[in-house]
């Protein structure tokens, strides 16, 4: 699906990260592999340190902390918010929607629309598309896209393939109407036939939690996980990313009559260093234009990786200059999406630490 939006813009981005850092070297002994093997893989994949929440911290805690920071610093006014779009795969509850919980905790007026969207790796793009659609309404002028996940709670401590990758955190992106002649192109595709390439098989309503779904089972390769843990089919994901993302990019170049040189940056989702380097190589983009340093510093936080990537790699520069950017998300669903837009003199673009 190809979508076009006019006169809308991103005006601020903040990332909220848990203070707690976990280091791969300290976790290696949990895995059923030699130290030498694990260190070799760590170097290739970018396993180093990641940020994770404690057992009690939830998505709403991270988001409320970030929102209160923005109110306190007078970066947004509470009464100017018209909608909250929360994109998460780790809601506080099966019901009610976590966006309603957040709205209640920060005391928003009942007129504010609250939406939860279950999306992951392409969750930033899906959230932005939803925000742009809401902004088509006369009465909606400011939408907050909240991306947040605490998936570290759902990854087996004995799964060397997934555990060292997964980080937690939240981001808040302010999206508003613009008087300038802004044009945004969004491309999005979904392939539900591959829904099980990235999945938590049990614990939902299809296969409810019980003693059997909680039992750890060792796979053929030495990783142990239960049916309530995240399962990633690495080869499916790799082939999907290096096939579908270049195809979509070529479609964009052709449709918009632009070349790759048009973009100042490609801010892509951060599955791991290996996939990103092979992808960058295939689409012939220099590493300096396609940052791949999020996993090694913070872990793969699902839908937060693109806005965190902007905060970490552009930071305050995004408040001073204008950048032509290609925002790309790809993963769970399977879903893949690219948004072509400008990041232009944001009011704020920073990272803060969650403290409780």
């Amino acid at each position: 699906m190809k979508l076009k939006f006019y006169n809308k813009k991103i005006t601020g981005i903040i990332s909220i990260l848990p203070k707690n850092k976990v280091y791969f070297k300290n976790e290696m002994n949990n895995y059923n592999f030699s130290k030498k093997q694990s260190l070799k893989l760590a170097k290739i994949m970018g396993y180093s340190s990641r940020r994770v929440v404690n057992e009690k911290t939830s998505v709403s805690d991270l988001c409320v902390f970030g929102l209160n920071y923005l109110f306190k610093k007078k970066l947004i006014k509470k009464d100017k918010i018209d909608a909250l779009v929360l994109v998460t795969q780790s809601p506080d509850y099966f019901l009610p929607p976590t966006s309603n919980v957040i709205s209640g905790k920060i005391n928003l007026r009942p007129d504010v629309i609250c939406l939860d969207i279950n999306q992951g790796c392409a969750g930033y793009e899906v959230g932005l598309i939803q925000a742009f659609m809401l902004l088509e309404q006369k009465n909606i002028s400011k939408v907050l896209v909240l991306n947040a996940d605490v998936l570290s709670k759902k990854v087996s401590i004995k799964d060397r393939n997934s555990r060292p990758l997964i980080g937690d955190g939240a981001t808040i992106t302010i999206v508003e109407k613009s008087k300038a002649n802004e044009k945004i192109n969004a491309y999005i595709k979904m392939d539900g036939k591959k829904y099980d390439s990235l999945i938590i098989p049990a614990g939902g309503f299809k296969q409810q939690s019980n003693s059997s779904t909680k039992k750890l089972k060792k796979d053929k390769f030495g990783n142990s996980r239960s049916l309530e843990h995240l399962l990633m089919k690495g080869d499916d994901i790799f082939n999907f990313v290096v096939t579908k993302v270049p195809e979509m990019l070529n479609e964009i170049y052709k449709d918009l009559k632009i070349k790759k040189e048009y973009f100042d940056y490609f801010f892509f989702h951060q599955p791991n260093k290996f996939i990103l380097e092979k992808l960058a190589n295939k689409i012939e983009i220099a590493n300096s234009k396609l940052p791949s340093n999020i996993v090694e510093n913070f872990g793969n936080g699902s839908g937060i990786t693109v806005p965190l990537n902007i905060c970490f790699n552009l930071g305050s520069k995004a408040t001073k200059k204008e950048y032509k950017v290609c925002l790309g998300g790809f993963g769970v669903g399977l879903t893949w999406s690219i948004i072509v837009c400008n990041i232009k003199k944001l009011s704020f673009c920073k990272i803060i630490e969650f403290k409780k």
Binding site: S34, Q37, K40, L41, K43, I44, M45, R160, N161, K220, F221, K233, G234, D235, F238, N239, V242, F274, K278, L279, N281, K282
Partner: protein
């Protein structure tokens, strides 16, 4: 070349005797995708090549002879 590949495979999976192993490395679940990632990195270093994304497919790593064929493509 075969000996170098066997050494790389053995470094990744020390418990498997690859010199006698004519089995299907992927189809028989001897290697998983994360093993392949490690093997690719070692091959790239050893043979000074960069394997393209299109070639990173299970079918190219399913046997020692297929791995040799892949490396020869880059030489």
């Amino acid at each position: 070349m075969e000996n170098k590949i066997i050494k790389i495979l053995k470094n990744t999976k020390p418990n498997i005797n690859f010199s006698k192993n004519k089995k299907k490395l992927i189809k028989e679940s001897i290697l998983d995708s994360f093993d392949i990632v490690t093997i690719i990195s070692e091959i790239e270093k050893e043979f000074n090549i960069s394997i393209k994304a299109n070639d990173i497919a299970a079918k190219n790593f399913d046997s020692i002879s297929k791995i040799i064929k892949l490396i020869k493509k880059y030489n």
